[in-house]
């Protein structure tokens, strides 16, 4: 445990350059983000509530055996919602498993995402329908995809840009490095959004890198980098907006390090007990992003009890409908094993399927 604490200590977020907008309701005053009015604030809030609700319900659904293993993103809502609202609808998003529900903010049915976690092909979607890539499971491998898409959009002369999410651990992978470098060299309009929650499963940031801050990697790619408080939705939003407009203006990619702390298990299968310091987790939970934003909205007089309840009720309704729809999905037909693997399937597929149906007594 001693060893673990030692690690912990050095993974407490360095305050260095940490941009914030939301105050603490006391000595630190609230700021504002230019151009984000009451409507904008409430849009951010609705998105955060929807994500939070999705996450909390999913953990329950998992316990009830209604979805499979699930990667919890409790406490990451400010990063996801704040950056999302800096994008236009035709900008592309490349999520990792940690942002599995980001599509909900673009109208992707909750049932689709829940089906994905249920291991059901109803979890498929066409990335082009939502400008949203599939959920990426292998760490950092989505970064070159995002670089390629953004590069391609520039080649087409479109003003579209792309944003990809990845974690602190992901920055150790060659795929991150190659993707970030491609984006820089190709002047790809891309936002490289690093969710630095300071843990890669049980591996603390201190065992992942010796960089003082992950944002220091930006210089090595010759791109701008900015470091924000990942628990401050407005700071994330503002930083992403700047990166997006730079990208649209032909300024290429920006690396954003959004610093937060993983205050939940890595996934439903994970037990952080052996490796994480409960006190530090409590601290993070006490300071979690949704509560901070609610305090801000109330201090601004934008949020009041009725509205909060209405918004939360809507989110719960979305999830209720979503899980019901996901569970109403008929069992997937085994033909789906073969059907979409290739646009032009070989003869062997038909033979294999017939054989399989015979065995299954269909």
């Amino acid at each position: 445990m001693g060893r673990v604490r030692a690690a912990m200590a050095s993974t407490v977020p360095a305050e260095r350059d940490l941009r914030r907008v939301i105050g603490d309701g006391g000595s630190i005053p609230d700021g504002e983000v230019e151009g984000v009015g009451e409507q904008g604030l409430l849009d951010l809030y609705r998105s955060m509530v929807l994500l939070r609700t999705y996450d909390e319900r999913s953990v329950i659904y998992h316990r009830q055996g209604r979805i499979g293993t699930y990667a919890i993103f409790w406490g990451h809502e400010a990063i996801q919602a704040g950056s999302f609202h800096a994008l236009e609808d035709d900008d592309w998003i490349f999520p990792s498993y940690r942002e599995s529900a980001i599509g909900l903010l673009r109208g992707l049915p909750a049932a689709t995402v829940l089906s994905w976690w249920r291991g059901h092909p109803a979890g498929w979607w066409n990335p082009a329908d939502y400008n949203l890539a599939s959920i990426c499971v292998p760490i950092a491998t989505q970064v070159p995809h995002a670089a390629g898409l953004a590069w391609g959009k520039r080649l087409r002369g479109e003003s579209t840009c792309a944003l990809t999410f990845f974690g602190d651990g992901a920055t150790s992978e060659g795929a991150f490095h190659e993707g970030a470098n491609f984006a820089a060299v190709m002047r790809a309009p891309l936002v490289l959004l690093c969710n630095n929650n300071q843990w890669a499963i049980s591996t603390p940031l201190s065992a992942q890198t010796k960089a003082e801050a992950l944002v220091d990697k930006a210089l090595g790619y010759g791109i701008p980098g900015v470091r924000v408080d990942g628990g401050d939705v407005l700071a994330v939003h503002e930083a992403t907006r700047e990166a997006v407009s730079r990208a649209r203006a032909g300024g290429g990619p920006t690396f954003i390090e959004a610093v937060t702390y993983r205050a939940a298990p890595h996934a439903t299968a994970d037990d952080p007990g052996p490796y994480i310091d409960p006190a530090r987790v409590e601290e993070a939970r006490a300071n979690e992003c949704l509560g901070r934003f609610e305090g801000y909205l109330r201090r601004q007089g934008v949020l009041h009890d009725d509205l909060e309840q209405a918004i939360k009720a809507d989110a719960i309704a979305v999830m209720r409908a979503g899980i019901a729809a996901a569970e109403a999905e008929p069992a997937a037909d085994v033909s789906l094993l073969f059907e979409h693997a290739l646009a032009e399937p070989p003869a062997s597929f038909a033979h294999d399927l017939a054989d399989l149906r015979r065995i299954l007594g269909e």
Binding site: R3, A200, T209
Partner: protein
Amino acid sequence: MSDLYLVEAVNDALRVEMERDEDVLVIGEDVGRSGGVFRATAGLLDRFGPDRCVDTPLAEAGILGSAVGLCMAGFRPVCEMQYDAFSYPCLDQLITHVGRYRWRTGGKMTFPITVRMPYGGGVRAPELHDDSPETYYVHTPGIKVAIPSTPADAKGLLAAAIRDPDPVVILEPKLVYRTERGQVPDGEYVVPLGEARLAREGSDVTLVAYGAMVRVCERAADALDASVEVLDLRSLKPLDEQALLASAAKTGRVVLVQEAPRTCGYAAELAAILAEKALLDLRAPVVRVTGYDVPYPYWAIEDAYMPSVARVVGAARSLLDF
């Protein structure tokens, strides 16, 4: 003897070998503080300290590449790849260096690297937690490959791999990590590479498998009204060719079972050996029961992808009725 789950036997082997030889290091993602996502390395950090059980950065090529250098410093690194499909970033180091470096030094330098990982499907996991990547490893020169199906073999083969002077890849069937317990010898226990295990004797038809498919074949044997032989290869490279040919000579009917996609899977290699060396013994075609040549599916339909008892039984019957 202890009654252990397969994953516990892996843990036991690591502990025993690390005690036996202080040059043995365990490195990988989450192998230390958490003891591994499957607990295969549980307790090693506390017992052997952070210099011998190392949580590495999240980079599989970095893990295997630095293992090459650790060998040059006289260590015997045991690298954990967290899952089958997450081992692919290390293939470049494996193919270009791990399998060739010894030859490159005229045999002067050995690279006793062990790469171990949970592999295979059927565990209701998200995408890319279900692959059977043995072909990529078996085809690579300079690499040995073993796949246990029982707790005892999991311990013995891993110990053999760690002591082996050559690089060895051990694929551990995660589907049976915690299904049945088995008797495992305490202390030092080695199962030599290259020796198959006759899981069941029979005379009418041979079912050849490894890893999680051995159980499937045993159940198929129960379901068949014939005298069925089940051969658990245990070691894919080197292969116990004699055991394969002997069983084929005895039954003349061979079903080869693998989870991996069919094309160029390991069953193809076995079939090729039979077609070249056992032609006159064969009383029926050699049939393969394998995963399909498609991406491993989402888990709601994975059971239809995995070779099932029914598919193996069907294949065996087709040979018996040939």
